[in-house]
């Protein structure tokens, strides 16, 4: 029955775990809609024929003798039950739809995160392992995947019809979307928000792979050109093969190059900005008196608009990194902060002096960092793109 209705309504395959439930509501709503429109049309047609002028003697009753504003062409009871019934139907749709909507927007806590960046007119993706891809999103099956998305230029909308999911990708904001793909396969991605001449070719593809295949594929992905903006329609990174770098290690490099580490320490020492040691997922007080959990979204937001949710006790001196960091770079930095979550905060240590240009901040070496990874990074001295 599900399959029959799905094909009749031309709905795409139900590739995500939520798709089937949404389709059930779809069948309910659309069948009721068709029945309602057909019912009203049929009743009107019946009346138009039955009460046509000159339909034969006795068919046309004499005009209603009451004045036009007298109450009651129909009994109040019938009117109220029709309206009440319709309202009950609509509220039923609303309740089911809203419960499903909450499921759509709340990712499970064990979701794997992939960073998505939309730009005119391409999609690029950065994975926690460090690799990146353009135009193809690799996801595992049977595991929830969370996409943290932002745009480099105008508003786009990430739309995967087979998953029944769509979320706008907005510059200056990070939006998220999650799904769990049921089986290996390929599914289209479209941009659904008008974004310019190439809007209709801003398409990509999801390739869902079984776990083992997935790990192997992801390991083989080269990182995107992480130190510079993503350029052109370049399909995977064309450079000589290299040792895969973990995303966290890459984040360390980016943080040094972008100057983050001039103000943020990674060993808990107090400094100009909040230390990154143990920051990830901690509940931190804000300057306006509220609190926030330093999750992926908060960290990303803080890089885009640092003054919006300022950590209490710190000055609003950080510049916005909007447009300066690519989505993969953002993702790498967040992953680096994530990796520092268990570093002990040394609250008692003496604050570092305000740096003068050229001062070398301390960098804690990362566990699992590839050999040859810099132990300390001098701002400005680290090389260009890997």
């Amino acid at each position: 029955m599900n399959e029959l209705l799905r094909r009749l309504l031309l709905l795409p395959p139900q590739a995500s775990t939520i798709a089937r439930d949404i389709d059930y509501l779809h069948y309910f709503v659309i069948i009721t809609t068709m029945a309602g429109a057909a019912g009203v049309a049929a009743l009107s047609l019946y009346y138009i024929v039955r009460y046509r002028e000159g339909a034969g003697h006795g068919m046309n009753p004499p005009p209603d003798p009451r004045p036009y504003h007298a109450p009651g062409g129909v009994s109040l009871w019938l009117e109220l039950s029709l309206i009440g019934g319709l309202l009950a139907l609509f509220v039923t749709w609303w309740i089911i739809g809203f419960c499903q909507f909450i499921r759509i927007v709340e990712p499970p806590s064990d979701s794997m995160t992939i960073y998505v960046m939309g730009k005119q007119w391409m999609w690029s993706f950065a994975y926690p392992h460090g690799g990146g891809s353009v135009g193809v999103l690799y996801v595992p099956t049977g595991r929830p995947v969370k996409l943290l998305m932002t745009s480099r230029d105008v508003i786009h909308s990430f739309y995967a019809p087979d998953f029944r999911l769509k979320t706008d990708v907005v510059p200056g904001r990070t939006t998220q979307l999650w799904f769990e793909v049921k089986e290996p396969g390929r599914h289209p991605i479209y941009c659904a928000e008008m974004c310019g001449a190439g809007h209709s070719v801003m398409r990509a593809e999801v390739i869902a792979l079984a776990d083992a295949d997935y790990e192997r594929t992801i390991e083989g992905l080269a990182p995107l050109a992480i130190a510079g903006p993503v350029q052109g329609q370049a399909i995977p990174f064309e450079a000589e093969p290299q040792a895969p770098l973990s995303l966290a290690a890459m984040g360390q490099r980016v943080a040094a190059e972008a100057g983050c580490l001039r103000c943020h320490t990674v060993d808990g020492t107090p400094h100009i900005g909040p230390t990154w040691a143990g920051l990830y997922d901690a509940v931190i007080p804000l300057a306006d008196g509220t609190q926030v959990r330093a999750d992926d979204a908060y960290l990303t937001r803080s890089m885009m608009d640092p003054a919006a949710e300022l950590h209490r006790g710190f000055l609003a001196v950080m510049p916005s990194y909007q447009g300066l960091l690519t989505a993969p770079q953002l993702g790498a930095i967040v992953e680096y902060i994530h990796a520092l979550r268990d570093v002990h905060r040394d609250e008692g240590a003496a604050p570092l002096p305000v740096p003068v240009p050229g001062l070398v901040p301390l960098v804690t070496p990362l566990e699992g960092a590839a050999p040859g990874e810099p132990r300390a990074v001098t701002p400005g001295s680290a090389g260009g793109p890997p």
């Binding site: 309602g36 009460y51 005009p63 062409g73 909308s157 739309y159 904001r173 939006t175 974004c195």
Partner: protein
């Protein structure tokens, strides 16, 4: 007594007239031109979409086409058409007034409309606009096309809309005939009155936000540009705060026409006058707090999604009340099946299906899949265009005898109406399915699997266009050659039919004495 058509002659007597009826005819010509121009853009879109690739034009050109289709149809045709043409002509007559309250302002509104229309069309010369009629930022503020010109043109048209709305509100309050109480006004007057309230309250917000877009685009103010600290989503809130009520600016006057047509041709009183009158006001007010349902996937909070969802469903209940009332009005009537009644029948199907798919897209989890796809395109064409266009045509046929003193050919009328309604259904039913299948809107090129539905839609659009051309042809013929009409050919009880046909300059031979209600079909036609 000479009619308003022949009282004075010469081009100048038309272009500088302060008679509400002549101004209505000026608007009729201008809006009909807008309809034809928008229709040409629509056909260009449909023919481009016959094949999946870029067949006839480059993608940027296609984007300009759908933008101009939307801008022309929404701002130059659908929003103004019924109020400025039939509202202008019949609202004063229906309340026994000799004219609107501010005749000069009325003429000014026409020329402001024309100026706005010229500016909007002038943007075509400066590179056109490719943002869609919604002008979403930050694309619209960075687009290489002439967004500022078009946005300013729409701003000017909005001024015309406000002037007309203000005029109607004052007219209804101050110029009703002696003894004409509020609850004795024809339902079309209630509908135009409710619309005028929305026009006056909501249009300034559109003007303001489009002006900000124009300034942003021209001088880079950065109000909606995140790289300069602006907020692009703020624009969506401002835009839909007008543009959702604008949907009701388009459909509520059409509902007023339905009420007149269904009562006149059923020779029956409305089954509940109060329900129809007050639901117009209900739509006008609740319609202001539903705009957020356009932005469920734009990163809005979950609580907002829930609230806007339920409010959108409540506003649909008012429309449902009207549909029930109209249907029951047919019962126990003496129904004369004319061209307006065929349009009424088409309206009922299009409006109920379009309306319920509206509730469907307000259902938040379903909206996630459907928003920005062809499902939404089909939905709003069904309800806005299906509702407004069918009732625009019904109004032309219904009031044609009174306006021009001649009858239209009934047989041709029915053929034209059948063409329009069937063509409409054939155009947009495939688009509902395209949306289900996941085809995003505003796509110049598309995956090949969507082709057969696009071909079907283009075939339907061709039937629709032919139906409209048939209408145009025999109406022009009837204007000059149609048989002469009597004073009240349909046996209506509404007050505008008490005037001579066609009406003299000040509408009635003597001040109207109201002795019965506008739907008292149990009383004789003449005292």
């Amino acid at each position: 007594m000479t009619s308003y058509l022949t009282e004075t002659t010469g081009i100048k007597s038309w272009l500088l007239t302060k008679d509400h009826k002549r101004i209505a005819l000026l608007f009729m010509v201008a809006t009909a031109a807008a309809l034809m121009l928008g229709g040409v853009f629509a056909m260009v879109i449909r023919f481009e979409l016959i094949g999946p690739g870029p067949d006839l034009m480059a993608q940027l050109t296609y984007n300009r086409m759908f933008t101009h289709h939307g801008v022309v149809m929404v701002f130059l045709f659908m929003v103004p058409v019924i109020p400025t043409v039939f509202g202008n002509f019949f609202l004063p007559m229906m309340i026994g007034a000799p004219d609107v309250a501010f005749p000069r302002l009325n003429l000014a509104s026409f020329y402001v409309y024309c100026a706005g229309a010229v500016i909007v069309l002038a943007s075509l010369w400066f590179g056109g606009v490719d943002t869609g009629w919604t002008f979403y930022t930050p694309y619209s503020t960075t687009s290489p096309t002439s967004v500022a010109v078009a946005a300013f043109g729409v701003f000017v048209v909005g001024v015309s809309s406000i002037l007309t709305g203000l005029n109607f509100i004052v007219t209804v309050h101050t110029l009703r005939a002696r003894n004409l109480r509020w609850m004795m006004m024809p339902l079309f007057v209630w509908a135009i009155y409710a619309t005028a309230i929305i026009q006056v309250i909501a249009t300034p917000v559109l003007g303001m936000s489009l002006l900000l877009v124009a300034l942003d685009h021209a001088w880079g103010l950065g109000i909606f540009d995140p790289s300069m600290g602006g907020d692009p989503v703020l624009f969506q809130h401002l835009f839909w705060f007008y543009s959702h009520p604008a949907v009701y600016i388009m459909i509520v006057p059409a509902m007023g026409v339905v009420s007149e047509v269904v009562c006149t041709f059923s020779h029956n009183r409305p089954s509940s006058y109060r329900a129809i009158a007050f639901s117009s006001l209900g739509i006008a007010f609740i319609g202001f707090v539903t705009w957020g349902h356009h932005m469920f996937v734009a990163g809005m909070s979950v609580v907002d999604v829930g609230i806007f969802g339920i409010l959108s469903m409540i506003v649909a209940i008012f429309s449902a009340i009207k549909v029930f009332t109209w249907t029951i009005t047919l019962k126990h009537g003496r129904i004369r099946f004319t061209t307006p009644m065929l349009y009424f029948f088409g309206f009922m199907f299009l409006f109920v299906f379009g309306g319920m798919t509206g509730v469907a897209v307000a259902t938040s989890s379903l909206d996630v899949h459907w928003t920005d796809t062809y499902f939404v395109v089909a939905h709003f064409h069904f309800i806005m265009v299906g509702g407004t266009l069918t009732m625009y045509l019904a109004a032309i046929h219904y009031w044609f005898p009174k306006m021009f003193g001649r009858m239209y050919p009934e047989r041709w009328g029915l053929i034209g109406a059948a063409g329009v309604i069937l063509g409409f259904i054939f155009t947009f039913t495939p688009q509902f399915l395209l949306g289900n299948a996941g085809m995003p809107r505003r796509y110049a090129t598309y995956p090949a699997e969507y082709q057969w539905l696009n071909v079907a839609s283009t075939a339907g659009a061709t039937i629709l266009a032919m139906g409209l051309l048939v209408n145009l042809g025999y109406l022009i013929w009837a204007l000059f050659k149609g048989p002469r009409a009597e004073r009240n050919p349909w046996g209506s009880r509404s007050y505008e039919w008490l005037a001579p046909t066609p009406p003299p300059v000040h509408n009635f031979e003597a001040p109207l004495e109201i002795t019965r209600g506008p739907y008292d079909y149990h009383l004789p036609e003449h005292e």
